[in-house]
């Protein structure tokens, strides 16, 4: 089993006019389930289609239409639960959350208030080497997404597109274990990473496939520990919920602003009202969403169109047996098996595609060397051309061959960099390029000796200096490398130069 020992990070402290304050943050992450069809209909989930083209009559809430659950969406929720080490509820049920809004044709969202499919789990959020926050997950439930309203196409009308209506969402609810804006962003990053490893959500925040509601409250130093001991919320301040954020930067800014707003109210002798707020990135502030207040009476009740969702333990076990290796385990393996640093292992495991590329290069080779080439040469080169790894002109197999050529002694490290550039820009088989362009390293000691003799004969003054100061032997090595077009084996040159100079 994975054994990561870590210290919890210090909570963020904000100095008010009168006291120091700490933040208490809980998050609800809405993650769109990766699936072809919607949660209760056979319409496509594809992003960017013509408006209202991915809509079944169920999604449009035509009278008499009945929802039929997409089994794969259930499987994805279970897989996510297992990935967060959570308990899976073999019996769960769907409820109607009633509210009126133009993007919600049914007049209710089908959700799981009373009996969610996934119960308590956890996410380990690293904040630095050996420092991590264990954030408890309260629950994950399946629910329908709403449609999309566009407000800027007409001065008096809003335009509504139901393509997203009914797409499956997982709402992942954390306990209030997050203690600062940076931790909140790190939590979302980690959750996104796990979801992408699992393949249960693509994590595309720009398209709104991962959105966060953030509950923020402030308390005096020491109060939070009392809450943790008793799980009694009365030790904490009144919370406000900031809705629907889809950027890490905005999440942090909104939390920071909201905390200071609440501190100012309390220090002035006022009371924080529990309410829903929106973050306005242009103004850098949160404001009350008054329209939501009245709708807060959701009048939940069990959805009479849907029987309880019963799944079998054997089915859950089958999903558990096919789980991919998750980021924490993979990182620990890279550090243990390849001797990578904490930092390098983090970078290589951040994205599942990066990890897959690295492993293809490292397979059967020196892992540390593979890591250096991927992190330094490849990433640097990709960045220079504004490429992503996904459209890298160099395959893992090509890079692997270059490493093999170095390991065999066919090319020196310096030539390898030239070869890398050729393969990156022109493509082709690295081994063949080395042959056809005569890049092979000269290991023939006779040829190297001749080259060394020539350099020594041409530079008698340097020879005298080097004899007095052996450090200057490096100059001869450089001259020989130059004379051989960098193809001489550096180790052999070093040895021969030292011998000939009598050092």
């Amino acid at each position: 089993m994975l054994d990561l020992t870590y210290e919890p990070p210090k909570p963020k402290v904000i100095a008010g006019a009168k006291h120091d304050w700490e933040l208490v943050i809980g998050m609800e992450i809405h993650a769109q389930v990766s699936s072809r069809a919607k949660l209760f209909s056979g319409a496509s989930t594809e992003f960017g289609a013509e408006p209202n083209s991915n809509v079944a009559f169920v999604d449009a809430a035509m009278p008499g239409m009945l929802p039929v659950i997409n089994e794969f969406c259930v499987e994805q929720a279970v897989r996510t639960g297992l990935g967060l080490k959570a308990e899976i509820n073999l019996v769960s049920a769907f409820d109607r959350k009633n509210y009126f809004y133009p993007d919600l044709p049914q007049g209710y969202q089908i959700s799981q208030l009373y009996h969610p499919i996934v119960g308590e789990g956890e996410v380990l959020v690293e904040m630095g080497p050996g420092v991590a926050r264990l954030v408890r997950i309260e629950r994950i439930h399946l629910e329908q997404d709403a449609g999309k309203s566009i407000h800027d196409m007409d001065p008096n009308m809003s335009f509504v597109d139901f393509n997203r209506t009914g797409v499956a969402l997982m709402e992942i609810v954390s306990r209030p274990d997050i203690r600062g804006p940076e931790e909140a962003a790190a939590y979302v990053t980690k959750l996104r990473q796990i979801l992408r490893y699992l393949g249960t959500c693509d994590g595309n925040m720009q398209n709104g496939n991962l959105r966060a509601d953030v509950n923020v409250s402030v308390c005096r130093v020491g109060q939070y520990e009392k809450y943790q001991e008793t799980q009694d919320f009365s030790h904490l301040g009144t919370r406000c919920e900031i809705k629907n954020m889809n950027s890490m930067r905005f999440i942090q800014q909104a939390i920071e602003y909201e905390a200071r707003r609440q501190i100012a109210i309390v220090e002035a002798g006022g009371k924080v009202e529990q309410e829903t707020r929106l973050y306005d990135p242009d103004k850098g502030e949160t404001r009350s969403m008054r329209s939501k207040e009245e709708a807060h009476d959701y009048r939940y009740f069990p959805d009479p169109d849907l029987l309880p969702l019963e799944i079998e333990q054997a089915w859950v076990d089958g999903i558990a047996a096919s789980m991919p290796e998750l980021p924490d385990a993979r990182k620990a393996r890279y550090m243990a098996d390849y001797g990578l640093t904490d930092y390098d292992a983090n970078v290589l495991t951040a994205e599942v595609d990066t990890a897959a590329y690295f492993e293809a290069v490292a397979q059967g080779r020196d892992g540390k060397m593979a890591a250096n080439w991927v992190l330094n040469e490849l990433f640097g080169r990709l960045k220079k051309d504004n490429h992503e790894l996904s459209d890298s002109p160099m395959s893992a197999a090509q890079l692997g061959t270059i490493l093999d050529l170095i390991a065999k002694g066919d090319i020196s490290g310096k030539i390898a960099k030239d070869l890398f550039e050729i393969v990156f820009t022109e493509g082709g088989d690295p081994a063949e390029i080395v042959e056809s362009r005569g890049m092979k390293q000269v290991t023939d000691t006779g040829a190297i000796e001749t080259a060394v003799d020539e350099v020594i004969a041409a530079n008698p003054a340097q020879v005298e200096k080097a004899k007095a100061n052996p450090k200057l032997a490096g100059w001869f090595v450089g001259q020989v490398m130059k004379a051989t077009g960098g193809k001489a084996n550096p180790a052999a040159v070093n040895e021969i130069v030292a011998r000939k100079l009598g050092l």
Partner: protein
């Protein structure tokens, strides 16, 4: 629990059903009759009785993750009081 006219008006508003003020007393009385019946049901002791969700032993019907529906924009929009450029058009709603 008893429903007064204010509560009746609130429920109507949440459901977006227009109720004239003179109809509210009657509506409140109807709500109270229904709730009275529910309260009568509440007198039955159901400790240890599993909730019955279906009269026949049925499992929730499932579908495969296959796209079988959609591509019917015209039909979807056909009942809309106002539709433009493939969208439903509604009075402006901005937060």
């Amino acid at each position: 629990m008893s429903i007064d006219e204010t509560t009746a008006a609130r429920v109507a508003k949440l459901a977006r059903i227009k109720v004239e003020p003179e109809a509210l007393p009657g509506l409140a009385t109807e709500f109270n009759t229904i709730l009275g019946f529910i309260e009568q049901l509440n007198e039955v002791n159901v400790d240890g009785v599993e909730p019955m969700t279906s009269v026949t032993p049925m499992r929730l019907k499932r579908r495969q993750d296959v796209v079988t529906d959609g591509n019917q924009q015209a039909k979807v929009l056909s009942n809309a009081p106002d539709a433009r450029e493939g969208f439903f058009a509604v009075p402006k709603v901005v937060e």
